[in-house]
Symmetry: C2
Amino acid sequence: MFVLTGFVKVIGAYGVGKVVASGNPEFEKDDYVVGIISWGEYSISQGFMGCWLSKLDPMGFPLSYHVGLLGFSGLTAYAGFFEICKPKKGEKVFVSAASGSVGNLVSQYAKNLGCYVVGSAGSPYKVKLLKEKFGFDGAFNYKEETDLDSTLEKYFPEGIDIYFDNVGGVMLEAAISNMNSYGRVALCGVISEYTDVGKRAAPNMLNVVYKRIMIQGFLGGDYMHLFPEFVSTTVDHIRAGKMHVLEDISIGLESVPSAFVGLFRGYNVGKKIVRVSNDLEDC
Amino acid sequence: MFVLTGFVKVIGAYGVGKVVASGNPEFEKDDYVVGIISWGEYSISQGFMGCWLSKLDPMGFPLSYHVGLLGFSGLTAYAGFFEICKPKKGEKVFVSAASGSVGNLVSQYAKNLGCYVVGSAGSPYKVKLLKEKFGFDGAFNYKEETDLDSTLEKYFPEGIDIYFDNVGGVMLEAAISNMNSYGRVALCGVISEYTDVGKRAAPNMLNVVYKRIMIQGFLGGDYMHLFPEFVSTTVDHIRAGKMHVLEDISIGLESVPSAFVGLFRGYNVGKKIVRVSNDLEDC
């Protein structure tokens, strides 16, 4: 009876569920909960090895929103962009995997702040979506580019101020080559390197020194203290029609393996979610 | 009539001199000056293309101190360590090129703060110096090590909190592999990469993400606002016998080429300085 994300932590996943029975005075039947729960239509939670599980107020939004743009992906995008990158209106922002769960949210925060935003993605459909649905200033299919340095130079004639990196590898190298002085790189993921050590980024560190570039790795979980501020800002954006949801929902527990593999092959468009149960009427 | 550093900026260098004649009401005969001046026993300064030149109070120290530990190298070490690395007492600090002009000062600041400090250098003499003169907790000759990952693991069984990087390349990779969560890398120089692009560092960026590592390139010149604070702190350390000078002085303008080449070959021990003129009685 849960909606689960594709993010698997061996025993569990970040998801939303509904309480069907409770022996814990803090939770009542029909409460919604969010946090680390197990992969299953029904599961018994006993605090799950100390992992976070708390009550959820859906605030009138579909439950899936709370594992995506109002959940951990959203917090990761919000904290990474605002806390790490410290953006200013008008700055030039590049986002890789820009149609991914975090990337598309970063891009929307950046657009709403008044930044110039260009994103990379891995298919013509995704690129079209970024430009037409999300109003990016530019988007390109990295698979069609042979020289990423030149590609970024074309899209950023005035240089990149902020790079929100979800992929690592050669894209990170090209981004650093094209960065302005005092540029900031939020390192959120390195999906191009996960399965191939040979693809590790070897950025020009002399550039990093002379341009005083900051590269900061981070995890959304470190920013739980920002959750209320993040939810409030994001809900405002959604209600004002300035933030759009991009979800890719698979149905059934049996879809978990293909959903997970698909993340690494770039099949997902937006947040990959597995809807484990159909018993939740409003998700 | 100048003491000059080995840092050449095409037309000039960071150095100290004495005014022999002045048509500028701000400077009088026999004033000491510090800043960007030309390579020569005597030179005419007209503000040198807007570069910084100001009066110097030697405060009873040899003039050479003011191009080294009380000059730009010192400011670079001070700002890089305190502003970028934000060290805390007891933290584990690794410094590469630790007998170099900036590295040896960073290490001394770190020791004075109560950090555990290990440095790398390129000769047995330098390593001995680091351990015996500067009281490092450990030092090693990187040329004698075949597996830097294991070397750093040996010297940092509890991991590295701060890496002050002067060399880049494989040392940066090994340092990142051995860093603790929330580790900080101040990227001051990448001397191993200057002449060979093939030696660029390809650190494990997955480590950077999961361990929330920050890598920050910087230039000392951005921290001129800290100059008074830096000088005051450093003078206190010197007068208390808690900071030692490590200089490598060549004599005569004709020594500039070999001094400069020597920097890239690791011949210098401490701050490389060229004493251009013998007319300054007290330098």
